[in-house]
């Protein structure tokens, strides 16, 4: 089963990160690296990425078939998606086990969403 583990960023998490010393930041990054490596080693990781700041986002809309591109939301967005892991785990419990190792989980900023598949129940 595939699951998307979403990691959000909010003012509190950014404040904590900004207040960190260099060593603390390095330790935080090492936690991420260790988590990443263990999920690669177990053959469960499909892809993981960190997202750029939302101020760099482009909002795309189509009007009468013509694209209209505007700059993304600025600083007024308080909580936004900051990164994700796409994993293939045996159970959702296993995906949750991995997700709680993400440092942001301590701040309640991590979410696990099941991915839909194409299988059908023989009804």
């Amino acid at each position: 089963m595939k699951y998307l583990i979403l990691i959000y960023s909010n003012p509190q998490s950014r404040e904590i990160w900004n207040s960190f010393s260099r060593d603390q930041r390095a330790a935080g990054l090492r936690d991420y690296e260790a988590l990443h490596e263990s999920m690669v080693a177990s053959g469960e990781l499909i892809v993981s990425e960190a997202l750029a700041d939302p101020s760099l986002a482009k909002r795309v809309s189509a009007q009468e078939g013509r694209p209209i591109v505007t700059d993304g939301p600025y600083a007024e967005v308080k909580e936004y998606l900051a990164g994700f892991f796409l994993v293939d785990c045996a159970t959702i419990e296993r995906a949750i086990e991995q997700a709680v190792r993400i440092p942001e989980a301590a701040l309640g900023l991590v979410e696990v969403r099941p991915i839909m598949g194409l299988d059908g129940w023989d009804i």
Binding site: S42, G43, E44, L118, W121, D122
Partner: protein
Amino acid sequence: MGHLSAANEIEDLLRTLAPQVLGALARRYGDFDVCEDAVQEALLAAAVQWPPDGVPANPHGWLTVVASRRRTEMWRRESARRRREQVTFASTAPDDEHMSAGDDSLTLLLLCCHPSLTPVSQVALTLRAVGGLTTAEIARALLVPEATVAQRISRAKQRIKAGGAKFQMPPDAELPDRMTAATHVLYLVFNEGSTASSGASLQRVDLIAEAIRLTRQLHDRLPDDGEVAGLLALMLLTDARRPARVTSDGALVPLAEQDRELWDAESIAEGTRLISRSLATAPIGPYQLQAALAAVHDEAARAEHTDWKQILGLYDLLRTLAPGPMVTLNRIVAVAMVHGPKAGLRELAAIERDPALRGNHRVDAVRAHLLEMAGDAVGARDCYRLAARRTLSIPERRYLESRAARVSPEHDI
């Protein structure tokens, strides 16, 4: 056409020979992990050389010699000490190639399904070592990246090595459990194959055909094993319905509404023969019961001819032999078909607090179905909608939404 079929023939030949060559090497040298890599390289070399040059007179011997050489090269790279030990072996390829291809394939399957491995690793390793598929083909078939599959395979092999598992048949006392693990892996491969029937599947290896091929091999080796026969029958009887299960636009068709003319009569006949024989001769097991259930459905020329009493009896047996949430729910559907929807709804109410079923959309789907049978259109619609929201399957969601709309099309909430 000539080229294409020649290429397909070479591929089929390579995949038949893969476990035999690997079995011969692993039996001879013992280092399963290195032998497995060596055989993969030999298969790749053959896939490149044979189409232009033609298939060698002794393809098994060719692959064995090339794989043995590759294995020696791998050892050389790895350690000078080992090189001295192994160089004497390198000049001689295993010569007992005709000894026991069937036994080797079984030993190989049991090793790949070793209980110390996770199910996803067992599936990947079995497809590569026993099925002769490349990592890339397995990745496409399982809809995950190649690196993920490569990692699962190498981790599985490390685990086998670290655990000291040998390339040999397990002792008799362990055999039943090991066989259960192996049949479960084949069942998982079959299920994986059922999950993808979209247009993108054209370039993918057909995992259903692969599961049937490997199970057939196992059945040929162990014709009197009732559960292996039952599993093969279950696969054939289930797969026979595939042409009728999905419409051309990908919508699921429930069993009761399938065009039974589209079912594959040949597979049904073979599956029915297998299950009839094993039920008469072998001790009963869960795969045989599931195959028997599939056979009862398949032998009804029309849905309304289905022998629901027999189905209920089989579910009663399955419930004691191999209880599980799906057995519980399917049995309740059978109860409703035999004793009416109210009886089914009463049983559903009794089991819904079972933690194994809490939040399971299939409970809602079954309730919707029974409410519809009982004439409660609004209740049925609400339950179909709830089930549609909770399912993780896209075709199933579409099906449940269309049922909701059909049972009570007027006024939305």
